[in-house]
Every structure is written in C-alpha cells, then in structure tokens.
C-alpha cells in the first residue's frame, strides 16, 4: 500500500536528464585538459623550486580527482572495461564531468584559503602572482570553453517556467549586490587599517588586491547574467525549432512520396 502511494507520488523537482547528459558530454574532455594543465603547472613549480604552498592545490586536485575517478569506475565494475556502448559512455562522461568539477572547486576554494593563509605565512610577491596566475589560467581556459559550448546549446542556465526564470535573475542580482557590498567593505577596512598603521603596508595591499579582485566578479555577473540568460533561452528555443522543423520537413516529404 505504502509502496503504491510512494510510486504514484511525483517528485517536486528532478534534474533534467537531457541537460545532465549534454553537460557531462561537454565537461568530460575538459577533465583531460585540466589534468594536463595541472601536471604542467606542478612540474614547472617544482622545477623552479617554488614554495610548496604555491603547488599544494595541484597535488590535492590530482590526488582527489583521480581517486574519485578510479573509485567510481571500480564501484560500477567499469575500470577495465574496453567495450563501449551508449550507457557506458554516459556513465563514464558523468564521472569525468564530476572529476573535472571537483578540480575546479578545489582550485577556487583552495585559492581563497591560500589568500587568507598569506596573511599568516606571507610568500614572496612573485610566488603569490605565479600561484594565482596558474590557477586562474586553468579555471578560465576550461570553464570559458564549457560555458560557451553550454550557452550555444542553451544549457547553461535552465528553468522550468517563466516564474523560475525571473527568480533565478532576481537571486543573481541579490548575490551580486551582497558580494559587491562585502568586497567594498573589505576594501575600505583594508585601506583604513593600512592608513592608521594597524597592519603592515604589505598586508594592506594584499587586502586591497583581494577586495578589488572580488569586486570584479560580481560586477561582471551583474551586468552579464541577464544577457546570458536571454542568449541561453534564445539558443535553447533555436535548438527546439530546428528539431521541430526538421521533423515537419520529413513528414511533408513522406506525404509527397
């Protein structure tokens, strides 16, 4: 009785399998790219004998993502499978996509933690710049490729109804406003503390750098998000119209024949 009841109950929200499948398909090759870039970055930093703090994220990303990838394939008994079919490809793509996202999260969260750690264990400025640059390049190269591909297919920002679309845009505006406000407060506090000599000028410049960097992201998001949403919607509708038109053309040809 309870089984029938639960089976008949529709879930409030499920993730769109078509979008998940297409997103995994686009993200999957990026896992190899990020693995190559991370290895190059790690090798270069070790060769240049930089402080281990500058390449700790590469080591964490490589170990955790490869462990996740191997364990996930082993759990599904797919580690040594050479044959491929649609289902195996989809599962492998999904695991690769998750591994890629894990690397990106490690780089973004890790970089933020590193910023904070530099207040306690300051590095030579050139090492700080090299560290930030390497992670930013890796994240920007791969994510700009995936986001442009996803936008082209209309899969970057998705919603089920117009109401949900408006809520997504509204939430983004709130997020950007809060983020910008916090960054500006950090900036003002950093300048003030440096000015009154409470913290050293080096720390003050780091705080200002962090706050300025944090300001740029929400400003770009704030102005670009609505545009991205509309472009995404346009491309998604274009895909559907193309599919519908091709079917109608086929039907007409069949009738004529």
């Amino acid at each position: 009785m309870s089984f029938t009841r639960s089976a008949n109950k529709l879930p409030n929200k499920i993730k769109d399998e078509r979008i998940q499948k297409s997103t995994s398909q686009i993200n999957a090759p990026m896992y190899y790219i990020i693995l190559i870039l991370t290895t190059i970055s790690l090798t270069m930093k070790i060769a240049l004998q930089l402080n281990p703090l500058t390449y700790v994220l590469e080591i964490i990303a490589l170990i955790s993502s490869l462990t996740y990838y191997t364990l996930s394939l082993t759990r599904k008994n797919m580690l040594f499978i050479k044959e491929t079919d649609e289902v195996i490809t989809d599962i492998k793509n999904s695991i690769k996509s998750n591994s890629y996202e894990l690397c990106i999260i490690i780089f973004i969260v890790g970089q933020t933690i590193l910023f904070i750690s530099w207040f306690i264990y300051p590095l030579i400025p050139i090492q700080q710049v090299l560290s930030i640059l390497s992670y930013t390049v890796m994240v920007v190269i791969t994510s700009s490729y995936t986001s442009s591909k996803l936008t082209k297919k209309g899969l970057l920002v998705t919603w089920r109804s117009e109401k949900e679309k408006i809520t997504i845009i509204k939430n983004q505006k709130i997020f950007s406003t809060v983020y910008s406000t916090v960054s500006i407060i950090i900036l003002v506090v950093g300048i003030y503390l440096g000015h009154i000599g409470y913290i050293s000028p080096n720390w003050s410049s780091t705080i200002i750098g962090v706050a300025l960097g944090s300001c740029i992201i929400p400003v770009i998001l704030f102005f670009n998000f609505k545009k991205t949403v509309l472009l995404n919607e346009k491309n998604a509708n274009k895909e559907v119209t193309l599919a519908e038109n091709s079917i109608e053309d086929k039907d007409e040809t069949e009738i004529e024949a």
């Binding site: 529709l10 499920i14 399998e17 078509r18 089920r160 109804s161 895909e239 559907v240 079917i247």
Partner: protein, 65 residues
Amino acid sequence: MKNKKMKLARVACDLSQEQLAEKIGVTRQTISLIESGKYNPTIKLCILICKTLDKTLDQLFWNSE
C-alpha cells in the same frame, strides 16, 4: 520518430509543454524534443510522463506500426 501520442495526451490533459515540464521537473525544451522525436528519454522519465498524463507506457511510447 515523432511522438504524436504524447502530444495528443498532453493536449487532452489541457496542459501546455511548459506546464507539463514544470510538473515533471524538466525544461520545456526537453518535452518539445521528446515530442519531436529528437530525444530518447530514459525509462524513469517515461514513467514520470505517463503518471502525469495518466497513461501507460504502451499508450504513449509503444509504436505498433
């Protein structure tokens, strides 16, 4: 292959593509692509569609021709 049965069942339930998508928890585009035969849904999604439109899998997704 175009899924006319699903479209007819949806119209009979007086639902637009967007309303059906909202009920199932997918995007409108996915419903449109299933109806136009450009996307093959998994059995899980097929069951959800059937339950929402109050039909069986045979009635919506089996092509006897």
